[in-house]
């Protein structure tokens, strides 16, 4: 009896602690207020910057991250080192990522480019910080594809390209989707690296998280409204991810069976 009570109490405290900030935001921002803030130019500008940079960053992550993950899913000498390199941005403090990006791409950086404090810088910062989430998941997803299925495909007359698109990609699909959803969420919330490398210029580099930070000094209600907006978007993303994961048993177009 005692033990059950303790477990219940622990669970109550943990869940309460996790839910409280979310509840607090919505306690202060009614749905009507939230909708009203959607016409506030600070909010709409930040929303446009956020969506644009996040979507472009995701495209880059998918286009470059997928082949990288596919290559890293094979075993070869030095693979461990390369995988660690890919994972490093995950454990770096965002401020270090930001300063590193400046040191590489800044006006006086290694490559002497002028992308710092432009929208391109936001995209680079977001991609740098969130791509490891996708690449790591994609490596694991490609690793789980049975090499015998790849061999079978080849003996059945399919070349490497057909084998990739018809066998490997569909079988790795649920892992790729999960990794991409995590990367998307991380991109949308990116703060530290962006503010150091891209600054917080409204309409150019000010994303939603940066707008929360900048509005919070001026108008707490606006900051809360943007916060509420981010909660809604993130929750929608999480629900979509869970739905995708559970509906992956459907057959088309990239079907996955529950058994193997």
């Amino acid at each position: 009896m005692m033990r059950r009570a303790l477990v219940a109490l622990g669970a109550f405290i943990a869940l309460g602690f996790l839910a409280l900030p979310i509840v607090a935001i919505f306690a202060r921002v009614s749905p009507a207020k939230l909708v009203a803030q959607l016409s506030n130019p600070i909010v709409t500008n930040a929303l446009v910057v956020s969506l644009k940079t996040t979507v472009i960053a995701q495209a880059l992550i998918l286009v470059f991250g997928t082949p990288a993950a596919y290559a890293l899913a094979r075993s070869f000498r030095g693979r461990g080192l390369l995988v660690t390199l890919v994972e490093l941005p995950l454990v770096l403090p965002p401020a270090v990522a930001g300063i590193g990006l400046l040191a590489a791409f800044g006006r006086f950086g290694l490559l002497h480019t002028s992308v710092a404090f432009t929208q391109t810088a936001v995209i680079l910062a977001v991609a740098f910080v969130s791509s490891p989430l996708y690449v790591r998941a994609a490596i694991a997803a490609f690793e789980t594809v049975d090499p015998n299925l790849v061999a079978a495909s080849r003996t059945l007359g399919a070349g490497p390209v057909k084998t990739f698109f018809r066998i490997e990609l569909p079988l790795a699909r649920s892992g790729l989707v999960a990794g991409e959803a995590l990367a998307f969420a991380r991109s949308l919330g990116e703060f530290g690296a962006t503010i150091m490398f891209a600054g917080s210029l409204p309409k150019v580099t000010q994303t939603l998280p940066l707008a929360v930070y900048s509005a919070f000094d001026v108008n707490f209600d606006v900051a809360l409204a943007i916060g509420a907006l981010l909660v809604v978007i993130s929750a929608a993303l999480l629900i979509a991810l869970k739905w995708l994961a559970s509906s992956s048993t459907s057959r088309f177009p990239f079907a996955l069976s529950t058994s193997s």
Binding site: D146, N148, L149, A151, A152, S153, R154, T155, L156, G157, A158, G159, R166, I167, P170, L171, R251, F254, A255, L256, S257, T258, S259, S260
Partner: protein
Amino acid sequence: MARLLLDFTLPLRAFDLELSLAVERTVALVGPSGAGKTSVLRVVAGLAQPSRGRVAFDGEDWTGLPPERRRVGFVFQDYALFPHLSVRANIAYAGAIDDLLERLDITPLADALPGELSGGERQRVALARALARKPDVLLLDEPLAALDAHTKSQVRSELSELLRTLGLPTLLVTHDYEDAASLADEVGVLVDGRLRQLASPAELVAQPADAFVASFTGANLLHGTARASEDLTEVRLEGGERVFSTDSGEGAVGVVVYPWEVSVARAHEDDSALNVLRGEIGSVVEIGNRVRVRIGPVTAEVTASSAARLDLARGGVAYATFKATGTRLVPL
């Protein structure tokens, strides 16, 4: 008939696999696990690159060609069916389905996913898919290993029938000598990457090249036709003799008799409880302190001292006797 020719060296982790082999009908490679059997199939399919030598089909050099440009039908040990594709899509992946669904009796399964099939059904789908490739050569990796005992005997007879109808050069590997003997015209014993002996199943039992082959190839397999006879099963062998078994069976069967279950006599002892086969002594081979004697269709194993006492020599006549309980029947 077209021939598959192999002559190559493939370095494996523990040893080099070295093989020189011509496959015209059905050749089975048997051997303990880790002997390199599957690697042979992978080399033929182009999935492994030998360090030396060549693979050729009907005069056409396949060495260096990628797998998709060799016309092989490879049935993997675990069947390697694509789990996300239906049975129909799995087969169509390799080529036109034509009558393959009917031929392999899998029409009702066409829309099922591989995960919903039994072992025997998966094997038929894997065979259908390999045949949709319109292969010149068939490669079967442990075709019966993944099946339970009951399914296995049925699948073995279906497979044997199918291989005969197809008439393709077929290379199959198995760790089970009995499966090899019942499916193949020639059996090769592969140990540590070397072919110890290549011969017909009967020759292999009668004249094993060494002690390993002798212990591995164990049993005689006599072909015949079975019918029930009182409480026993009567089998009329291909040579016309009749033997009885306590196992049940019907139609075309193989009678399995281990050489050490067979005793040898120079005169016919009248004992109705025994199966007696009279035959010419074909070969006498010493394996350590034992001697293997071929008498007509059956090989017996006797001690060296009783071989000396019986004065066994090629060309003489002897009687091989074994109990009905010492036999097993396998469907063919």
